[in-house]
Amino acid sequence: MNNWDETLAHFSAAIRTGAVLAPGALNCPHYAEERGIGVYRNNFRGNLHDTLASAYPVLRQLVGEDFFRLLAKRFIEQQASRSGNLHRYGGEMAEFLTHFENTQHLVYLPDMARLEWAYHRAYFADDVPSFDLPRLANIAPDAYAGLRWQLHPSCTLLTTAYPVAAIWQAHQEIEAADFNIDLLSGGDSLLVYRKDLSVDIVRIAPASLHWLAQLQQGTGMGDATETTSSAHPDFDVATTLQHWIAQGVLVNFLRPSP
């Protein structure tokens, strides 16, 4: 088996990095061997490029199609695909952009990449059953503080330094776009999630974001409520809980382990 594994590893390297295969490894009677491998190189880069273009449509518009091609090429060189499902590729774009020299002056791009990846993730996230309210009636009030709430798997909470939600919206219908957005006007507190089959990007109160973020990390409802209340004295847990259950954001709860 080793010989076989090695053959495939070499073939993979030839496609990804341009490594040269041992003479005689391949049979290619009608055109140069490099032409045949070239089809695979083109598929490799092309499929990843097209995937990134689909995951980051606003980023692509912001930098332009030609520049995006270069950006994607560099990203692909640094970031291997790890899954047979292309929809999982590209989550490291925000991190990549914080180091990418040619766009250092576009300081809001990493925030935009975070937002677009959250949208992409939400689009393809699993479905879950809707909230089972009667089950909550069976919980003793003494156990409320220990409940650990689960957010819908599509949820991402984002705090950004730049007003990327407005920039994102301006790029959805480019003809009627309002580009009168001051980049220095401050950031957003955002929840990205899927509701009724479509993905919503929603500006939410910082207190809500603080509370939901802790629940998402697995903090019990009691502790999450206390830390949120001390950071945001106006925080109203009753309204917030009811709202996010009604919105399909809080979908389930786990009782504390005994």
């Binding site: 391949l26 055109y31 070239g38 089809v39 695909s81």
Partner: protein, 276 residues
Amino acid sequence: MMNTPASHSLPVVAGIGLRAPHYAEVLERRPPLGWIEVHSENFFGGGAPLHTLLQVAQQYPVSLHGVGMGLASPDPLDPGHLRELRQLCDAVNPSSVSEHLCWNTAGGIAINDLLPFPYTRDALSHVAARVRQVQDVLGHQILIENLSYYVAFNNSEMREEEFLTELVARTGCGLLFDVNNIYVNTVNLGVDAKAFVHGIPAAAVGEYHLAGASMMGGCLVDTHSARVFDEVWALYEYTLQHIGKRPTLIEWDVDIPALAVLQGEAQKAQHRMDAP
């Protein structure tokens, strides 16, 4: 268990590959289509894609065609990928499930393409074990598709049709014969298409694929972006004579034309199936 077909099998008529540009039209107009096929991975997870497919599945028999399992990869099968395929099958109740005879992942790094490999006896044991694993997880048979490829390996110990024949014997899997793929291999690598037709076990063949390719830089590239070539129609007719009628798919993935064009291509396949 091994020889159980998917819950019910596809009707023996022509179908089309259903892609995003035609979802709305198909759901609104409900045109007459024998059956439809989609790429499994595009419906992993939930939300709008799965919702759309479930609506389509109420109207038409559905075939799930996987492109990312990597049956011949040296790395272990991705358990998450298998689980998602199982979930999708449970939701959609497909008439057929298929995968390709190819690999995509080595040393944890995926190349998101359908890659060829040397057809060796070791590879056969490896792929057979993995086909069994997939069939065990799904609880039914899968069809395995022959590959179009642009280079061949000199250390192959058998031809692709011999590999597939033995795979059927060892696993009880079925075969998806992509007629266009064999034609592409004939042009690029001198593969003997008729020997392939006679070499695979006819009884195992559960589906045919037809598509159009593109000549690029001296190489015929399997772009699924054109009408079926005359040479491929001729090979399809030969296949109908020697293997028999099977559910036949028109695949079109790039520069996707109006639905009517796909229906027209499907009609051409249907006429050939109906010919005495």
